[in-house]
Symmetry: D2
Subunit: 354 residues, 4 copies
């Protein structure tokens, strides 16, 4: 059994880790770390595990945790892990960080968008960006996983094959994303109150949201050049789910019959299949089916589809995932499965509720 410690187990992503790992056949929850609820019964805070989990929360002493567990998940605010991570910890336990601290390779970019000084830039280089479907091989054997952001996972996976294949002009890429409210976390803030979110929709972080450089960096690797995009998140009155609607101009390419022209819908479908047909967690929907967040809620799936608009020569790509699962805790468990050489699906073969 893999012994697991969680720092930040009482946030929404933390509870999702607890939920997933309690159903996981190969793990043992050893340390439920918390800052606000030390010594309180976990099941008294999150009654979904009432009668199933008798543990009390422990503190967030990560050095001590590393002595007791095989893997540490950090579901913590930006900057936390960078402030406490040490070589000693990494030598004792795998670390899967759900925050942004090691996602961005360029420290200056991180510090600019996050407005924080990075306390341990020496670990950035070795950290592996844990977008499993793209970086699976690098994840194997890593000590430190930078688990991707929720918007980022959705935005990248939805566009990745077309960027990689050169089918779209990345300079025209616009990502209009919509998220449920759990993405805002469990902090007690007025804008996240029920009556402020319900019966409402708004954009936020327009042109300034921190997931922007993360998307740009990863798509940049795919097309081997600098990428600058527009990314606009919106807050939606629902608990879970992200839908990314992405727009880009098609590039003219040489078709299989030798002619020059825009990629056809058929070519684009084949492109997606080339990258994703063996991916259990990515479901390329059939033509005419638009991704809906409800079908992936509570699961690790990403549902993707696209429409070609012959009037504008743009492709509209759509991707849906559960921000707390595939967008956070689910992908973290997927990374853990890879790290510990388990079947990648272990504990994640969940089916969404209608």
């Amino acid at each position: 059994m893999i012994k697991v410690g969680i720092i930040g187990s009482t946030g929404y992503a933390g509870n999702e880790l607890v939920r997933l790992l309690m159903m996981h056949p190969e793990t043992e929850l050893t340390w439920l770390g918390s800052r606000s609820y030390v010594d309180e019964k976990y099941a008294g805070i999150y009654k979904n595990v009432f009668s199933l989990n008798d543990d009390s929360c422990r503190d967030d002493n990560i050095a001590k945790m590393a002595d007791e567990v095989d893997v540490i998940f950090t579901a913590t605010p930006q900057g936390y892990l960078a402030g406490v991570l040490t070589e000693d910890i990494l030598s004792k336990a795998k670390v899967i960080d759900l925050s942004a601290d090691y996602r961005i390779k360029d420290v200056a970019t991180y510090e600019k968008w996050y407005g924080i000084t990075h306390k341990s830039p020496q670990f950035i280089e070795e950290a592996v960006y844990g977008l499993c479907e793209i970086n699976r091989d690098k994840v194997k054997g890593a000590r430190l996983i930078a688990n991707p952001g929720c918007y980022t996972t959705c935005s990248i996976l939805t566009a990745y094959p077309l960027v990689k294949e050169g089918y779209i002009d990345v300079d025209t890429l616009i990502v209009d994303a919509k998220s449920g409210t759990s993405g805002a976390g469990r902090g007690a803030k007025v804008p996240n109150l029920y009556c402020e979110v319900n019966e409402n929709i708004k954009a936020y972080g327009v042109a300034t949201h921190r997931h922007t450089p993360e998307i740009e960096e990863q798509l940049g690797y795919a097309c081997d050049k600098d990428v600058t995009i527009n990314f606009t998140p919106h807050l939606i009155p629902m608990n879970r789910g992200i839908l990314a609607t992405e727009y880009a101009k098609l590039n003219k390419v040489t078709r299989s019959d030798g002619t020059e022209g825009y990629p056809t819908a058929d070519m684009i479908r084949k492109c997606y299949e080339k990258f994703y047909s063996d991916e259990y967690f990515i479901r390329l929907l059939e033509p005419g089916m638009n991704p809906e967040t409800r079908w992936v809620e509570g699961t690790n799936f990403v549902d993707i589809n696209f429409v070609v608009d012959d009037r504008t020569n743009r492709v509209i790509m759509m991707g849906a995932l559960d921000n707390i699962c595939k967008g956070a805790a689910g992908q973290a468990v997927q990374n853990m499965n890879i790290l510990f050489e388990l079947d990648e699906k272990t504990g994640l073969e969940l089916i969404g509720m209608c």
Copy 2:
């Protein structure tokens, strides 16, 4: 024009007062008091009045406010007004208190249920309980109005005619109430976060909710004896609205033909009509129509109906209102209209949105 000051104008009830009074033809908003937002533009906090109201919030100096206005609304936490009210204030301005400070005549009862020491019990006697449909005559000429609670208004008005007429055994009265989340206020608390309230229902304050003694006192006046009831509030994933479902055993009465027996549905309907047929804000629905909160949202109406169960000889009474309007700010404006001898409906002839 009536000059109006509001203490607590940036809470949900405060904003409803602002909304109603800005549409009211006879009032002028003179002082928007706040504790947290002093000197901030009101329209920057509540953008429903953007471009319509250019005022900045002022402090909550009630003594100074009394010099400038004709009427003061206090939409404040329990205990606030009791701590600052003076004879001088009452001599200068009418005070309509949306808190519970002067609703309960017995200080000991207030202090027991609210867990606060009452700082100015000397004003309790003169305060008029502003349930307009019942106490209209007393409201006229009063200086201090104790504006009823949201659950209370709904619970009392739904049962009042049958209690008054002796048709039900008040000792069997059970009030099961359901409320939208605005009733919990705009304070930043985890239990009121979107993700905690959405897709959920729970009871709270079971057997201990503070509106209980207020309902008991008022129904006690109606039947001229002590009343002890069960009142259970529930939190519902919607912004506004309260539905009270009330149960009571019917009393045997002497019917018009001289026989003894339980009141018939027809007799009960006539009883409601006797008390409410002239009341604009109380709508006795037709047989078979159950009150729904959506039809009264944003209005000062209370929709009421009932079903007689011949199997159990109980009557099930149902009442619906908007907790922030008729349950708070709307009724407060109705009281103001009475105090200033305006048509009671002035500024309150609103129609709900479908």
Copy 3:
């Protein structure tokens, strides 16, 4: 592997059966019956199983289905199964009926409340009322299971120990229940449209709801006398979940020290524990924790608690479950597990999402 057929697989309860049985290690979905979607891909209708299930819907020929499967689930409108069930079918396959056709032993009562003539009353006697925690022993070896209603399961389990022990006066029992909208089914009806349900609450079927006699019959067995109650369901703007708030007068009983008096909170807790402490799916919450539907959503749990009101000598009991899972499909799978002598929890050890 147990071969399974479902009649009505494209309704909400049908899809929940599909979801649960696809995750169940001992079953094989052999026949997904439908009336409206014959020959259509199931995963095209319910995209939660996209990429996981490649079956097309088949018709609802139950006689033919009985030749191919070991167990038939009927998630069908009232009257359907009664019209098609035969001795031949029962001789070939176990039948678990999610409709009300065989729940009520007295045909006249069924016909009165449902307004339908019962077409096969000869099977009523042998049908076992599948409330697993109460009737587990009778379920074993049965051929025909009448799977309880959603409101019924919640209402009965919440009150059962206190009724059985004689702690409450059943003649005073009032059940005020609140349900998510999935209980209304997937039929295209105006009252179930999003805009009609959202931001609204209403009672319905007041004093006439069909689950009433079912609750009365089962509680009657518990206290060995006729029971007549008030049951009022309400429609709530959420997808899943039922909360039952139940009120009853306490009976005076002889306490362990020989004195006569009302049962104390401690005695009531012990009474619940006596019946439920070994029940995995029933979670008696700790004092002060009120059941909330979100903690049981997607699971087969029932969360129960109570408050004693010393002022009125009533006990307020509260129970929460997922109407589509423990209230329908989950309990049906639990019954199947018992019928086929599997561990009762097989495939049902699900943890709710926060």
Copy 4:
């Protein structure tokens, strides 16, 4: 008093017309037309007007209606009005059509996008596109108003000043719009059921939605050339409200100091002010405030703002309105006010609820 008839008064837009016109000081509701509810009490269907409106629904005989009223509102499916409109009707009453029948000047375009043969193309020419803030002068004196679509009103008004001024490259314009569910109408369809919409978001009509050519035509008039855009609507779990997020590349322009360059945020703000500072119903928010649908719910306001992204040289424009009010019935009443030479705000000075 202006006598008003409504065809389609029992749909959501129809009920909004009823709500607004009952609060309008200069109108008299003479004929509430319906197809499904003839002779039924209107207040029995829409209980928001219970006790306030005693009328029964009449049929949809528009010719007869024209004899009795001064103005006819048609809140009807596409193709209805085109099939029944006559010169005789237009000679007797003003007609304000909330459907798309006369919005698009090119019949072929209409027939292609709507898939219907236009039955009365002879009236298209004279119909005035009733986007009041743009076409106010043409509305005056017209007989037939083509009231704009909900998405269209929001999309056009949000971009109009920048298109008109040549600040943006219209060929790069992308409109990503999100709508509450009332826009789908009150028809009983499975996709609009509560449980299908709640906790979900999806795109629909991608690259094919019928409001696209309407937006293109109107923006084409603004910049005097053919416009082809991408427009993607999304369905959101809320009753009312549309948010349009619009993206376009900035054009280089000659600045006031003679230099060539992209318009600054300040220039863009001035451009909006130039067109909208005198428009009561258009509220240009202050820098940093993003439009939210809740602030305009129930009102005729459009809230607009923008962000310039210096990294991409795009402007992100955002507009929010109530799809049933400014996006349908409110704008129709605004058009009526103009037609009858009333103050344009009459009956529309509504303040949204928090």
